[in-house]
Symmetry: C2
Subunit: 88 residues, 2 copies
DNA sequence: TGTATATTTAGACAAATATCTAAATATTTT
DNA sequence: AAAATATTTAGATATTTGTCTAAATATACA
């Protein structure tokens, strides 16, 4: 859980997740959208991967990144524990 | 939103939030539960306050900290946007 | 008014993080 | 096989973060 919050604690990484909502994208396509070097984006992608927020699939020389939304369930669950219970 | 993710990105701070679920607590009562100095806990509390995850109320020489769960709604909403929509 | 208690603020420091450039690896194309 | 393309890994550096001790502030009590 630690690693998920860590991965989410960066605007660039959150933006990457938002980008992946529509389509899977290659590392290069993702990097093009930022004024940050490719290696830096690669590092961000690595953190997202460590948190299992994204998965990868190699196709030829490209690596496609996809969103994995199942991890978010855990965080949502943790957050909702704080909300007062509704009756019924 | 940035600041909320930042506040949540620390095990000590998340534990403080969990402690506040049951009762409001003073800074001192919170600090007693950790092997960390009072000033450090005070700093964590400040970050939680900046994120509006907690509110404070002064009573005499004590400062009571309370959970504010409304902030979590925003984060939950952000996280749920990624989940594929269910067909009703 | 002076002392004890509760908490924060200030300043210092080590560890973690985001970024960069250069080099390495893997795949495709010519 | 060599060159081009896509991406990662390595190593360096500046910034941010969590922690500490010491000092400051605020309230209560004697």
């Amino acid at each position: 859980m630690n690693i998920v919050f860590k991965a989410l604690n960066d605007a660039t990484r959150r933006q990457i997740l938002e980008m992946l909502q529509k389509n899977d994208l290659t590392a290069g396509e993702i990097a093009e959208n930022f004024n940050i070097s490719f290696p830096s984006i690669s590092h961000h992608l690595d953190l997202l991967k460590q948190a299992k927020l994204v998965t990868t699939k190699k196709e030829g020389q490209f690596i496609y990144y996809s969103l994995n939304t199942t991890v978010m369930d855990e965080i949502v669950k943790w957050l909702l524990q704080f909300k007062p219970k509704k009756n019924k």
